[in-house]
Amino acid sequence: MSSKQQHILVVEDDPALSDAFSIVLAKEGYDVTIAYNGKEALEKVKNLTPSLILLDLLMPIMGGKEFLQKFKNEHDVPVIVLSNLDSRSDIQEVLDLGASRYMLKAWASPSELVKLVKETVG
């Protein structure tokens, strides 16, 4: 499958950020779907199997950790966590829950994000 057909699910509650990620990834040829919290994300994956999920942690209704827990039980899609939480314990927890990579939002520039996505799904 060529990268041009890859679908990415962006789970992020801040609209400015989710739009930004969406724009950047679209520019790189990916299809992007946005969910604003964990619950919405779970809904979306019922009908759609993304190649990659970009997951924020701090979200209302259902946060990233809970989503990850529920999602990873049934799916094997790579998840990149994009968060501002930077404590070792948080990072470790997330990795234990099945996330492939962890990136600090505050330090991720668009090109770095793209680089990471390409590394993970091609």
Binding site: V24, A106, W107
Partner: protein, 617 residues
């Protein structure tokens, strides 16, 4: 420290325009005022307690004093009673004695022999009620033709000088013809014509006219004429008549007067006896005065100037036969209780009050301090929380900005002109600084709130350095600064990886920031016994010695002449120091202005005690 974070907080809130600055300032002022409150309220309460305690002590002392005073006064009154009673009884006793003596006279055919007198005296002297007796005597009224036989009579009675004295009498002649006890002093007075002395004459006349025992005013006794004896005596006369049936009129009585029997005594002895057994220590003045006539006559007087305090004075009047006497007693309560009682109560009371006041002060101060500390902690906690929340919330839009400007800068929106690129780069850099500052603020807030844990793990310091270098290469390249590295052997240690990395990265970033372009920054790692030593040296602008100390304080910033826009939050070195010290390490700086600076960090290779996470606070 705290006011600075207060100020920052106010700036943040102004930024989000939700809080007014004056409220923050008011908080600071209230905080300062409460320091004074901490002293004021406990002091006030303690002083009040002391005042109340003292008042109570004074009250109790006064009551005690009053009680002991009343007790004392009644005791003193009782003493005067004793004197009066004693005196009165005494007078009665002497009167009885004289009446008895007169019966001897009457039953012995108007005669009293020496033997009679001796017998009488010997019986009387055995009785304590006659203790103050100086003598008991018989004075016969003599007619001029009886003068001749007088000397013989006197000699027979044992007179030292058996003559009538004074020699040439006129009017009534009443020499002493019998006297007991027959000591030298008394035998001396035999022959003395008592009518020649006015006080005696007056009393005798009174007795004769009224057929009563009559007391003289205080007199100098005949026994004392030659001596320097100051103590006066008293004489009680009882008349003897021709007939035991005494006539009614004074004139008739005078006609039938045959003589007198009398007793002589010193009231001084009387009083001593009367007061024996009572407490006489506190007596400052005691007097017995005959006030029958216009001029008072002292019978007995005693004063003691060594008695302290304010004496209480009691004056009593009482009748002694035909005379009126006054006893005046002034005494102070010399008892230990009277002297010290109230004072002791006051002293003890004051002491207890003082103790209680001190205790109260300590308790209140402690309590207030605790309350104060609690409120401060609460206030600080809420400030920290707000700081953390605000910083966290700022992060999100700042991250958003990074994405959009990053898109422009990194070509996602097409090529930019050089000018556009330059401007976008500046915006991107400014945003990066924003994010850096927010990051540091959050760390500081967490550190202040005690929320940062040192997570010890096994690591290789060399690797951590490599990683940090990777993160800062871009910045170094921008200024064309070469990073030189020495000591690249692995150095295993047990430290917090994240924080150690932060420390190294911060030092490197600073070194680059304050370096001249095209220069070198050196990072050196070596091991000294069980300590790892990391040195970061630059050849940049340097730091003046005066600024060394404040370097590691919050919000301190060294002026960077290279580029004022390169300034940071001022939190970097503060955090670095905290993170280093939390891992039981040290940080030092040496520098020369214009030549460069060298920061030296030492860290123990393994933690001193256990490898449990340590709370950074």
């Amino acid at each position: 420290m705290r006011p600075a974070s207060n100020l920052l907080l106010s700036i943040i809130f102004c930024y989000s325009s939700t809080m007014k600055l004056p409220t923050q300032i008011k908080d600071m002022v209230t905080g300062f005022k409460s320091d004074a409150n901490q002293r004021f309220i406990p002091t006030l309460m303690a002083l009040s307690a002391l005042a109340v305690g003292l008042l109570i002590s004074i009250g109790v002392a006064a009551i005690v004093g009053n009680y002991s005073h009343k007790d004392f006064v009644s005791q003193e009154y009782e003493q005067t009673n004793t004197i009066v009673r004693y005196k009165t009884n005494n007078m009665e006793a002497y009167e009885q004695l004289l009446v008895f003596a007169s019966t001897i006279y009457y039953t012995h055919n108007n005669q009293i022999t020496q033997k009679d007198w001796s017998d009488l005296y010997s019986k009387a002297s055995k009785l304590t009620k006659y203790d103050s007796l100086v003598g008991i005597g018989y004075s016969d009224k003599i007619t001029p033709d009886e003068l001749a036989t007088l000397s013989a009579r006197l000699a027979e009675a044992g007179a030292t000088n058996p003559t009538l004295r004074p020699a040439n009498p006129s009017g009534l002649i009443t020499p002493i013809v019998l006297i007991e006890p027959r000591n030298d002093d008394n035998l001396n007075v035999l022959g003395f014509d008592m009518s020649t002395e006015s006080s005696r004459a007056e009393a005798m006349l009174e007795a004769a006219k009224t057929d009563q025992a009559v007391l003289t005013r205080p007199v100098k006794l005949a026994q004392d004429f030659d001596s320097r004896q100051q103590r006066p005596g008293l004489i009680m006369y009882y008349p003897l008549y021709t007939n035991v049936d005494v006539p009614e009129s004074a004139d008739e009585r005078m006609k039938q007067l045959e003589g007198f029997v009398y007793v002589v005594f010193r009231p001084h002895d009387l009083i001593s006896t009367a007061l024996s057994g009572t407490n006489t220590d506190g007596i400052s003045f005691l007097s017995l005065t005959d006030i029958t006539e216009a001029t008072p006559q002292t019978i007995y007087s005693y004063s003691n100037s060594h008695v302290h305090g304010n004496p209480i004075s009691i004056t009593r009047l009482f009748d002694v036969g035909t005379r009126t006497w006054q006893v005046k007693l002034a005494a102070t309560d010399n008892s230990r209780f009277g002297r010290y009682g109230p004072r002791t109560v006051l002293a003890i009371g004051s002491f207890i009050s003082l103790l209680l006041a001190a205790l109260l002060y300590a308790l209140l101060a402690h309590r207030l301090h605790k309350i104060e500390a609690y409120h401060r902690a609460m206030l600080q906690k809420s400030k920290d929380e707000m700081l953390a929340i605000a910083s966290h919330q700022l992060r999100t839009p700042a991250s958003g900005v990074k994405q959009y400007i990053g898109m422009l800068l990194q070509g996602f929106m097409g090529a930019l002109t050089d000018e556009q690129r330059a401007i976008t780069a500046k915006a991107y850099a400014a945003n990066e600084r924003q994010l850096e500052i927010i990051n540091q603020l959050l760390y500081v807030a967490k550190a202040d709130a005690g929320q940062i844990f040192i997570d010890y793990e096994e690591l290789d310091i060399n690797e951590v350095i490599s990683h940090s270098l990777g993160d800062i290469t871009q910045r170094a390249d921008e200024k064309n600064i070469r990073i030189k590295r020495s000591g690249t052997r692995p150095l295993p240690a047990i430290l917090d990886k994240t924080f150690t990395g932060m420390v190294i990265e911060n030092l490197l970033t600073n070194a680059i920031k304050y370096s001249y372009p095209d220069s070198v920054v050196t990072i050196r790692l070596k091991r000294v016994n069980s300590t790892a030593v990391i040195t970061v040296a630059d050849k940049g602008v340097g730091i003046a010695k005066e600024e060394y100390e404040s370097l590691f304080e919050k919000f301190s910033r060294v002026d960077n002449p290279l580029s004022r826009s390169e300034g940071g939050s001022g939190l970097g070195l503060f955090l670095v120091k905290r993170l280093v010290e939390a891992q039981h390490g040290t940080i030092d700086v040496t520098s020369r202005v214009g030549k460069g600076s060298t920061f030296t960090v030492t860290l123990p290779i393994r933690p001193r005690k256990k490898t449990k996470p340590v709370l950074l606070s």
